[in-house]
């Protein structure tokens, strides 16, 4: 009898702890502003690849690292304002996007050394971005999955959109990022209520 009382009490307490922990993890991914930053970068960058390709390389070599830094600052500020500092998750996000950025930087070595043509660099970077977003969707925040899937789709539609392949991909990715940002905003609103 006493045993059952003790066990019931412990189970009840552990249930309380589990619920508090679950509440802390609810909507603990990237803040919506990060998706908006990404969509702005893509909004300018992808059409630039179609219409002003000579500026595209300069744009991406500045915009991509800048987006990384701005996203990191936004993420840190967001969680500090929320009152929850998750160092482990922060390091995981930084490592993921940092590695992705470094790999993309290394890609520029390939056409420079003649291993691939400059024309092939764009789809390769898009393919790596798709992989980066899809993996982020699996490991960090589900909301990254949709933009990643649409980037991958963009690689498929590129050959049939003669001349406007980047603009078509941009429309898809920007839409996905907006949807992801909205999903995050709604989840936040639900959490507050």
């Amino acid at each position: 009898m006493q045993k059952h009382h003790v066990v019931d009490g412990v189970a009840e307490d552990l249930g309380f702890v589990r619920r508090a922990l679950a509440r802390s993890e609810w909507n603990s991914g990237a803040p919506s502003a990060v998706f908006l930053v990404c969509s702005v970068i893509v909004l300018i960058g992808f059409p630039l690849n179609d219409f002003l390709p000579k500026y595209a390389l300069t744009y991406w070599s500045i915009a991509a690292p800048l987006a990384f830094v701005v996203s990191a600052v936004i993420g840190r500020r967001h969680w500090r304002q929320k009152g929850q500092v998750d160092a482990r998750s922060g390091v995981r996000h930084l490592a993921h996007w940092g590695v992705m950025l470094a790999v993309m930087g290394l890609c520029f070595q390939l056409p420079a050394t003649g291993a691939i043509s400059w024309r092939a660099l764009g789809p390769l970077v898009l393919l790596l971005s798709a992989m980066g977003y899809l993996l982020a969707g699996v490991h960090l925040d589900r909301r990254f999955f949709l933009p990643g899937a649409l980037m991958a789709l963009g690689i498929g539609v590129m050959p049939i959109c003669g001349g406007f392949e980047w603009t078509v991909t941009w429309v898809l990715v920007a839409l996905a990022l907006k949807v992801s940002a909205r999903v995050g905003g709604k989840a936040g609103a639900v959490e507050k209520s």
Partner: protein
């Protein structure tokens, strides 16, 4: 109605849980330490939100943890408003591990 003998038998079976910490007997204090072991720091408002406790009750529990050396507090100002950040100490982390281990033993024995 269980006999006295059965109760005594239970007492014997539940011996050996010296690792159970009296401070963690209250579920709010246990939850605070579990949350602080998961996150690097949590502020008072966030803890209140997560545990659905009143200011007074949460403040009392946090003070007890502070006095035992299980949690530390760092006060800072944000937009001219004071913000208290709480973190788990090494002592608190060890105590929590021992307590959780003892709880697991307890539940394991209860299943037998």
């Amino acid at each position: 109605m269980p006999s006295k003998r059965a109760d005594k038998k239970d007492d014997v079976r539940f011996k050996g849980f010296g690792g159970l910490d009296r401070l963690f007997e209250h579920r709010v204090r246990l939850a605070i330490c579990v949350l602080l072991s998961r996150y690097k720091m949590l502020n008072f408002t966030r803890l209140k939100e997560l545990l659905e406790e009143t200011d007074g009750s949460l403040g009392t529990h946090l003070r007890k943890l502070e006095e035992a050396g299980y949690a530390t507090v760092k006060k800072e100002f944000h937009d001219r408003r004071p913000v208290s950040w709480y973190a788990l100490t090494a002592v608190g982390s060890r105590a929590l591990s021992t307590h959780v281990e003892s709880l697991q033993n307890l539940l394991r024995q209860a299943k037998k």
